[in-house]
C-alpha cells in the first residue's frame, strides 16, 4: 500500500482567488456572502449567496477549449492551474506520465436552461451550437480538464451531492493507496447562479437574514435560520509518496483516512448515526485515535437539524478530548459540490500556518453545539492531524483524516 500525500492545492473561492488570499481571509474571519438583487427580482425567497467573479479565459485558452466549459469549469481550470504550479507539475511531465482526474460536481444547470431556451425559441436544434452538450453534463469538469491538460489516467466525475468534493478526494486516495495511479487531480467545483439554486430555495432551506449578509451563515449558532449557497472550485493533487519523492515535490500533507457511509433514512434530513459511522471509519482507516485529532472542519451548513446532528455525532466520537471545531461555511457559505475539497484546502492552510479559522457568527450555542469546542475567534493552534466532514442529500457522508507529513 502506498502512502498518499498532497503535493498540490489550488483554490478559486468567494473568500479568495488563490491560496494566499484565502489564507488571509480565513485568518481574518472574512465573509464572502452578499445579497444578489437579481435573485430577489427573479422571485427567490432568499437572495443571499456567496459570489466570485468569472475569470476571463479568452487569450488564455483557445476557443475550442473554452466553448465546452461551463462556469464552474472555468473556476476549476484556474484552481487546477494553481495546484499544478504548487505541485511543480508542468505539461511536459503530464505528457510523459499517467495523471488522472477525479473531480466532484453534481450539476450544470445554466447550459441546460440556455440550450433548451434556444430550442424553444428557434424550434431547431441546429441553432444550439457545439458547446452546450459538453457544458451541460455533470462530468463537464473532468471531461474538459482532461482534454485541456492532456491527462491520460483515470477520468470521471464524482457526484455525491454536498459530499462530492470530499468523496472525490477519498476515491483518489484509495486509487493512489492501492498503486493504481501515481498522481490524481482531485477536487470539487460549484456553479454560482440562480438557475442551479432555485429549486433548492424552494425547500425553504436558505437563510433569510438579508439585512446583514455576512452574518447570515451562522453554523452551530442557536439563531441560525438556514444555509447560504455559494461556490467556486478547489483542486487537491494527490500523489503516491514514492512519486513525490522521485520528483522532489514539496509535500503539503498526507491523507491517512477516508470514511464513508449512507444514512438510509430521509433524502434531505440528516441523522447522527450515519455521520458518526463515517468519522469512525475514517479514524479506523487512519490508525489514529480520536484523541489525536487537533481540529475538526465541520460540515455544518447553518441549518437547524444538520448542525445539531453533526454536533451530537462529533460529541459522541470526540467527547473525551473535545478538539477545536469550526465550520468555514460561516465565511464561505455552503460551497456544495466544491465544499469537501475546498474545506480540505482551508484546513491544510490552517495546519501549515498553525491556526484554526473562526466559526464566525457563532454568538450563542444551542444545547448540542454547547457540548463541542467551537472556535469563535481565530485561534493559534498546532495542528498535526485534522478531520474534515462532508455530508449530502440522500444521506451520503464522507470524512477525511489528513496529517502533517513525517518521514
Amino acid at each position: 500500500m502506498n502512502r498518499v500525500v498532497i503535493t498540490g492545492m489550488g483554490i478559486y473561492s468567494v473568500i479568495g482567488k488563490n491560496l494566499n488570499e484565502v489564507k488571509d481571509s480565513l485568518y481574518l474571519g472574512k465573509s464572502g456572502v452578499i445579497l444578489d438583487p437579481v435573485r430577489k427580482a427573479m422571485g427567490f425567497r432568499s437572495a443571499l449567496t456567496g459570489m466570485v467573479e468569472r475569470p476571463v479565459l479568452k487569450g488564455v485558452l483557445d476557443r475550442r477549449m473554452r466553448i465546452g466549459m461551463a462556469e464552474q469549469g472555468e473556476y476549476a481550470y484556474i484552481a487546477t492551474l494553481e495546484a499544478l504550479k504548487v505541485a511543480g507539475i508542468e505539461q511536459s511531465f503530464i505528457d510523459q506520465h499517467e495523471v488522472g482526474i477525479l473531480f466532484g460536481n453534481d450539476s450544470s444547470a445554466v447550459p441546460v436552461v440556455e440550450s433548451v431556451d434556444i430550442l424553444r425559441n428557434k424550434k431547431d436544434t441546429m441553432m444550439i451550437g457545439s458547446g452546450y452538450i459538453f457544458q451541460s453534463m455533470n462530468s463537464t469538469i473532468s471531461m474538459n480538464l482532461s482534454v485541456i491538460f492532456r491527462l491520460k489516467g483515470i477520468n470521471f466525475t464524482v457526484a455525491g451531492a454536498c459530499a462530492s468534493g470530499s468523496h472525490a478526494i477519498g476515491m483518489g486516495y484509495l486509487l493512489v493507496k492501492q498503486g493504481l495511479q501515481d498522481i490524481i487531480i482531485c477536487g470539487g467545483a460549484q456553479e454560482i447562479n440562480p438557475e442551479s439554486t432555485a429549486s433548492f430555495d424552494a425547500l425553504n432551506a436558505f437563510s433569510v437574514y438579508e439585512s446583514e449578509p455576512t452574518r447570515a451563515s451562522r453554523p452551530f449558532d442557536r439563531d441560525r435560520d438556514g444555509l447560504v449557497p455559494s461556490g467556486g472550485a478547489a483542486t487537491v493533487i494527490l500523489e503516491s509518496y514514492e512519486s513525490a519523492k522521485k520528483r522532489g515535490a514539496v509535500i503539503l500533507g498526507e491523507v491517512v483516512g477516508y470514511g464513508f457511509s449512507s444514512n438510509g433514512e430521509h433524502i434531505s434530513l440528516p441523522n447522527v448515526e450515519g455521520p458518526k459511522r463515517a468519522m469512525l471509519m475514517a479514524l479506523k482507516d487512519s490508525g489514529l485515535d480520536a484523541s489525536k485529532m487537533d481540529y475538526i472542519n465541520a460540515h455544518a451548513t447553518s441549518t437547524l437539524a444538520g448542525d445539531s446532528n453533526e454536533a451530537q455525532a462529533i460529541d459522541e466520537v470526540f467527547g473525551k478530548t473535545k478538539p477545536l471545531v469550526s465550520s468555514t461555511k460561516s465565511m464561505t457559505g455552503h460551497e456544495m459540490w466544491m465544499g469537501g475539497a475546498s474545506e480540505v484546502i482551508y484546513s491544510v492552510l490552517m495546519m501549515q500556518n498553525s491556526f484554526v479559522a473562526p466559526n464566525i457568527n457563532f454568538d450563542n450555542p444551542d444545547e448540542h453545539s454547547a457540548r463541542i469546542n467551537i472556535a469563535r475567534e481565530t485561534t493559534p493552534a498546532g495542528i498535526n492531524a485534522f478531520l474534515s466532514n462532508s455530508f449530502g442529500f440522500g444521506g451520503t457522508n464522507s470524512a477525511l483524516v489528513i496529517t502533517k507529513f513525517s518521514h
Partner: protein
C-alpha cells in the same frame, strides 16, 4: 449583399467568432487542414451563418466545400441565388 461584402463578412466572422488567425485567411486555405475548422466548428458555423446571413446551411451541401473560396461561393450562391 455584394460578393466582396460577403467575403469580408465571412472573414470577420472567422476571425472574431471562430478565432482563426488573420494571417491564415487566404482564398485557397483548406478549411480543415489549414484553418483547423473541425466538425464541431462547423456546428457553430451553422449558428453563426444563420444569425449573420439569415439562412440555414445544410450538412449535405457542405461535402464539396473544402477551401475558403468554396465557402465564399457557397454563401454567395445562397445569398444571391440569381
Amino acid at each position: 449583399m455584394q460578393n466582396d461584402e460577403i467575403i469580408y463578412k465571412i472573414n470577420q466572422l472567422l476571425i472574431e467568432e471562430i478565432e482563426i488567425d488573420e494571417d491564415q485567411i487566404r482564398y485557397d486555405a483548406d478549411l480543415k487542414k489549414d484553418l483547423g475548422i473541425d466538425s464541431l466548428d462547423f456546428v457553430d458555423l451553422f449558428v453563426i451563418i444563420e444569425k449573420h446571413f439569415g439562412f440555414k446551411m445544410k450538412a449535405e451541401e457542405m461535402s464539396d466545400v473544402k477551401t475558403l473560396q468554396d465557402f465564399y461561393s457557397y454563401i454567395n450562391n445562397r445569398v444571391n441565388p440569381n
